[in-house]
């Protein structure tokens, strides 16, 4: 058996039964000290959790059953995500699960699936995503990292950046330029690269929250077999685009804002601002912003549950959820008063709360996954039908 056998027919359960099962699963398997972390944990910290998810068949909720996934229906997938978030589950090294696996299942060859998917389950391969470059951020199609065919190998030269957790990964999937003579989107290919070879250099970048999660990846005459091309040559843009979907919905979840709001309420309770009518007005406003965003998210979730399709309106969720989250953290600093300048845990009476971290952390939310300005461009073009 190449792919793990399903442990159960999850879709045979009712949604309520599945929710209870999921809740119990995460409760039993996510260690307390890893819940609601302020950062991406190191691989060594989450390795056991990863193997626990994998061995019980819970690692890949969205993959089809025949490739070892849970094959969840949209409504159960959503419950999985909700319960995972409610439990404060940290992100494991999830690029293989979230991105590469679905790409191989949709566009890869059977040989690629058989070679690579099992190693995602075993964690033998830890993947990172090489898309952005110093000169290709929002304008991703302007990427210049180049792959030239030499016999039965690609020779790759270039420079990737904002690659999450690359220092812990051993494999990279990347968009590379394979034709410079055509329209920029039409000359890009999607390739898989073993990072354990000369010419691959990873340099972590410390972010403003003080964490090293993002990296630069330098590729200097790096080689990968031509058989590691996913999809057709020069079809990488389409391959990468097909990935969107659940991830875009995910980025519109109100969960981050709700957690930040709880922290804001706690600080205001501890320092007494909760009784100040001026503060209460601001707190009410931001509470409405969070809850209205949750209502909008729930509308899309309902469409997913009933098997319907949705389009660019998902961009509304991403914009609103991330900007609302930022405003919550701004109010958290304001409500902290003088303590709002303190690094790390800061004392409010007997209690300690880190007030600066949420503010720093969520600065990235409006940039990654297609910046919020790009999301607005998408709305303008596809929903508002304004001319270009």
């Amino acid at each position: 058996m190449i792919f793990p056998a399903p442990t159960q027919d999850w879709n045979a359960l009712s949604d309520d039964e599945f929710r209870q099962t999921a809740q119990a699963f995460f409760e039993d398997n996510v260690p307390r000290h890893l819940r609601f972390l302020n950062r991406r944990p190191a691989w060594v910290e989450v390795k056991d959790l990863y193997h626990a998810l994998s061995s019980s068949g819970w690692l890949c909720p969205g993959w089809p059953v025949e490739y070892g996934g849970m094959g969840l229906s949209p409504s159960k997938y959503l419950i999985y995500v909700e319960e995972l978030e409610l439990c404060g589950t940290p992100r494991v090294m999830d690029q293989g699960v979230m991105n590469l696996g679905p790409v191989l299942i949709a566009r890869g060859t059977q040989a690629q699936r058989e070679k690579y998917l099992p190693k995602i389950f075993s964690a033998e391969h830890l993947w990172c995503q090489g898309y952005s470059e110093p000169g290709a951020g929002s304008d991703l199609a302007g990427l210049r990292t180049e792959a030239v065919i030499d016999g039965d190998e690609f020779v790759i030269n270039g420079h990737k950046i904002w690659t999450s957790m690359a220092m812990e990964a051993n494999h990279l999937f990347a968009l590379v330029r394979t034709d410079k003579t055509v329209k920029k989107q039409a000359g890009i290919s999607f390739v898989m690269i073993d990072m354990n070879q000369p010419g691959v250099t990873v340099r972590p970048i410390r972010n403003i929250a003080g964490h090293e999660e993002l990296c630069e990846v330098f590729l200097d005459n790096v080689r990968t077999p031509v058989e590691n091309l996913v999809g057709q040559l020069n079809d990488g843009w389409q391959v990468a685009k097909a990935l969107l979907g659940f991830e875009r919905v995910w980025s519109g979840s109100p969960r981050q804002s709700m957690l930040a709001l709880l922290r804001l309420e706690k600080v205001a309770r501890l320092n007494g601002r909760i009784n100040d009518p001026v503060f209460q007005d601001k707190l009410t406003q931001i509470t409405f912003d969070v809850q209205d965003g949750a209502s909008a998210y729930e509308r899309i979730a309902q469409i997913m549950r009933t098997g319907g399709s949705f389009g660019s309106e998902v961009s509304v969720l991403k914009i609103w959820a991330t900007e609302t989250c930022q405003r919550v953290t701004e109010l958290l600093l304001e409500a902290s008063g003088d303590a709002g300048m303190m690094l790390g845990d800061v004392g409010f009476g007997e209690e300690q709360v880190n007030v600066l971290h949420p503010f720093m952390d969520c600065r990235a939310f409006t940039i990654y996954g297609g910046s919020n300005q790009i999301q607005r461009n998408i709305l303008v073009k596809t929903v508002l039908n304004l001319p270009t």
Binding site: F36, G88, L283, F288, A296, V316, L379, N385
Partner: protein, 407 residues
């Protein structure tokens, strides 16, 4: 339907049947708006009584829309806010909803939730066929969302009840047949709701003009005698509960009408941006304007989302506090978004948006009315804060569930 044997499939079928019925209602409202929208007539009606077209009011009654919220035993259809909201939303697009929110929803639902069955049996059938126009006189000079009347007093003497006081912000009063009036009892142990005819001795009405040229009544009561059997709710500490429910429902339905106003405004504005050429290009190609339009669209979708949740909560007979909280969240969003979108629409149009001749101004003014009336955004935030104070003091439920989220 026999609920004892309802399976998931039957529940789905019921849900689908209701969704289908709602779409039919929406289509009939769309047809009505297409055939009746007349901004020239709207302009002519401004600052003139009764402030709306009485023939259209009768036509809407004939379409059965006034029966939607009323239980079948009083001649209604026994449907819910889900149905009423699509009618108001569509009417809002054509600026045709005046004065339904005041008469059918606010006064009608106060009556419907009242406790005097004989009076309900007398009035509701006339209200639903459009032959009786009732208005609710509850607010006084201070306005706001406090239901307790400040100065209007009901005095009982020798088996007669008389009302004295002054009511303000009375919607739909341009051609009202009668008023539901809230008043304290003279012992000050509670307040009640009373029905008085518009031509009752001692009752006089004057009007203030709202931004859109529709009237807002000031009802003065000088020892107005309440006819026998016309006490809807005897004064008590709890007699205004029905009114509270009606006010919440009206706040949400104001949101539905506002959504229609917003949709029409945004469509008009986007169309203008596609066609208006400056610097040799459609102004809709300019990113500074495009992103403003995208933000307005987001606000529109938030109104739609919170409205949907509010309608569902109120239709499901949730507890009073939950209803009040979500009604305030809904009215706060719709008030703010209505003002913002119509206001920014003027800027996106440029000078033409500032003229009385261009239709946009009519939508701006309707949004101003719908935003201020029944509590503006700030008033509803205040109400929510008061209702939610205990939750904030003690920490919300999720807080205790997930203590590690806060460390």
């Amino acid at each position: 339907m026999n609920t004892n044997t309802a399976t998931g499939h039957e529940a789905n079928a019921t849900h689908d049947a209701r969704a289908e019925q709602i779409e039919m209602l929406r289509n009939s409202a769309i047809d009505f708006v297409a055939g009746s929208t007349d901004h020239k007539r709207l302009r002519e009606q401004r600052e003139k009584l009764p402030g709306h077209d009485t023939r259209l009011y009768s036509a809407m009654a004939n379409l059965g829309w006034f029966r939607i919220l009323v239980p079948e035993e009083y001649g209604g259809l026994g449907l819910g806010l889900a149905e009423m909201s699509v009618v108001l939303q569509e009417l809002g697009k054509g600026l045709l909803a005046e004065p339904i929110l005041a008469t059918v929803v606010l006064a009608g639902q106060t009556l419907r939730y009242g406790s005097n069955e004989a009076l309900k049996n007398e009035l509701l059938p006339k209200l639903v066929d459009g032959s009786l126009k009732a208005c609710l006189a509850w607010q006084e000079d201070a306005g706001g969302l406090d239901l307790m009347p400040v100065k209007t007093v009901a005095t009982s003497a020798g088996g007669r009840v008389t009302l004295t006081g002054r009511k303000r912000y009375v919607g739909g009063a341009g051609d009202a047949d009668g008023y539901l009036v809230t008043a304290r009892n003279s012992a000050d142990t509670g307040a009640g709701v009373f029905w008085v005819a518009a031509n009752a001795k001692g009752l006089s009405v004057t009007h203030e003009w709202r931004a859109d040229g529709t009237p807002s009544g000031i009802v003065t009561l000088d020892a107005v005698e309440v006819a026998s059997g016309h006490v809807l709710d005897e004064p008590s500490a709890t007699a205004l509960q029905g009114l509270a429910r009606a006010v919440n429902e009206s706040c949400v339905m104001a949101g539905a009408e506002t959504l229609g106003v917003i949709e029409a405004t945004l469509n008009m504005t986007l169309e203008y941006m596609r066609n208006r050429v400056q610097f040799g290009k459609a102004i809709g190609t300019f990113q500074a304007l495009q992103h403003r339009a995208a933000d307005l669209y987001i606000q529109q979708e938030l109104v739609r989302a919170v409205l949907g949740d509010a309608v569902q909560t109120l239709d499901s007979n949730a507890n009073a506090e939950d209803c009040s909280k979500i009604a305030s969240r809904c009215k706060s969003r719709s008030s703010e978004a209505g003002l913002r979108i119509t206001r920014e629409a003027i800027q996106l149009h440029g000078a033409i948006g500032f003229t009385d001749e261009y239709d946009l101004g009519l939508y701006v003014k309707r949004a101003l009315v719908l935003s201020a009336w029944l509590g503006n955004s700030t008033a509803h935030r205040r109400r929510f804060a008061l209702l939610n104070a205990a939750v904030w003091q003690n920490g919300s439920e999720a807080n205790s569930q997930h203590p590690s989220a806060l460390a």
